[in-house]
Subunit: 258 residues, 2 copies
DNA sequence: CGTCGTTTTGATCGCAGTCAAACGTCGTGG
DNA sequence: CCACGACGTTTGACTGCGATCAAAACGACG
């Protein structure tokens, strides 16, 4: 099985076998984290860099009044705290939304990797910069779109990101998160998330139930919420929705041999 | 006069004279950009890295329906597009909110700088990561705070950032932006921004008029909107509001000699 | 003095929040 | 096997914050 993090890095530019092996070698210390427990707490200065291998996690901030805001979803292949090599303290927490397998990587190992392999340095920074681009997009969703488009846009993003790491088969994917978590991620209330999802279902744009999301017509959903994947900075060939009747390479496996 | 960008870098860790000179040498090609014109357009692949020397600018995205969302304010000392060395295309535009002086820096010069001076590499990346932290904070403001706290928080942030680059004297600072721009930055409407500012004025928390902001009691304003500067990742000594009756070094000039 | 951009005010609307209760589905323990 | 409780989803009734639309006031400037 190919590490999702390698898949993610290879979406941008192919790696040699040596480079892949170097990345794989980072993953040595693997630990299980139970749902609803913090992988890293706010204010901590973790000694390890954390990489999600399996499961879903989220960056979040808690306000004084107890309300929570999720600022990012972390999927397999995503680093939780690459920035800790430069910033001293976490300014937010990271919680496991499902049971997770997480790689604990010593900072020294990252330093070594980037020192030896410039292409991977660029790859890691690129991942960080894309995270930043996603934050900008979420800001747009929250401030200048209605609930319908905001939720639709988020689902489009998650669908595409899951495809990129090979965790969405066709137009189906696991979506193991509660409506309350969707609410915290969009800045809405759980009640309104529920009603918005019902509208999306009613319009035939999504089928959602028991932890599984099905998008019968990706292009229709994307159009309805003005989704443009440019902000994810993918290669053009993987970014587009499949054209009707035209073979896209979106569905072609990234590693035919693997 | 000390370049604001040097001030900004030195807030984190002091530089040697050599390092300062290397940074200063980046600024060679200076151009004036008129208010309301783009410094960089969305979708562009700029050949230069842009650094604000004077004036205010903003990152923004325009939606299909014409509405605009500002995702960051750029003050003197801020880089507009450091990420362009790694990502190929801009996923947003940058517009001058006032007449600006902007340094146009060749990418090669940045590469050279970072190759020769690790401490500056870290400094530039740190600036990028703090930008990301600010985005997370804005997300919280938009999604989980009311208008009053959101606007207050933004003003606290701008006040502190202006102080860091030496552009706020005491509790006064230039705030040369319109209420419409504040609206686009908070995801609100201009009308509601106006009414929110009136409430802030009515509560005696701010005095705002003719492009100048006065914060009579910084601690009161920060308390009213739950502002905690931790997310800006400053040295502890510059982060805190002045304690009453206690000498803080917040007001001590960073460069007594300069 | 007229124009343009910006701020301010008023009246009304509606999207999303709030509060509360019912419902379905599990897993646990009696 | 059923009762129970925990958790998540769904529904209903009501409220209110902030949006919308429109116009007036203000101020800088040519």
């Amino acid at each position: 099985m190919v590490h999702p993090v390698i898949r993610k890095l290879e979406v941008i530019e192919p790696l040699t076998d040596t480079e892949r092996r170097r990345v794989a070698r980072l993953v040595r210390d693997i630990r299980d984290v139970a749902r609803k427990t913090d992988i890293i707490a706010d204010g901590e200065s973790p000694e390890f860099v954390h990489l999600i291998l399996e499961g879903w996690a989220a960056r979040y901030k808690i306000l004084r009044d107890g309300s929570r805001r999720i600022t990012a979803f972390l999927l397999p292949g995503d680093f939780c705290d690459l920035h800790i090599t430069i910033l001293d303290k976490m300014d937010h927490g990271i919680v496991a939304l499902t049971d997770c397998r997480v790689a604990y990587i010593e900072q020294g190992a990252i330093d070594e990797l980037t020192r030896s392999t410039p292409v991977l340095t660029r790859g890691l920074w690129r991942a960080t910069l894309v995270d930043e681009a996603v934050l900008r997009q979420w800001l747009v969703n929250g401030g200048r779109r209605n609930a319908f488009q905001a939720v639709g846009h988020l689902l489009c993003e998650l669908h595409l990101r899951m495809k990129l790491v090979g965790l969405a088969e066709g137009d189906m994917l696991d979506l193991p998160i509660t409506q309350e978590e969707l609410a915290d991620a969009t800045g809405m209330t759980p009640v309104h998330i529920n009603r918005t999802l019902q509208r999306l279902r009613g319009d035939g744009l999504i089928e959602l139930g028991s932890g599984t999301l099905h998008v019968p017509d990706v292009r229709a959903l994307r159009r309805s919420c003005d989704f443009d994947s440019a902000y994810l900075h993918l290669r053009a060939s993987v970014a587009e929705a499949p054209k009707d009747g035209l073979a896209s390479d979106e569905n072609r496996p990234l590693f035919p041999a693997a």
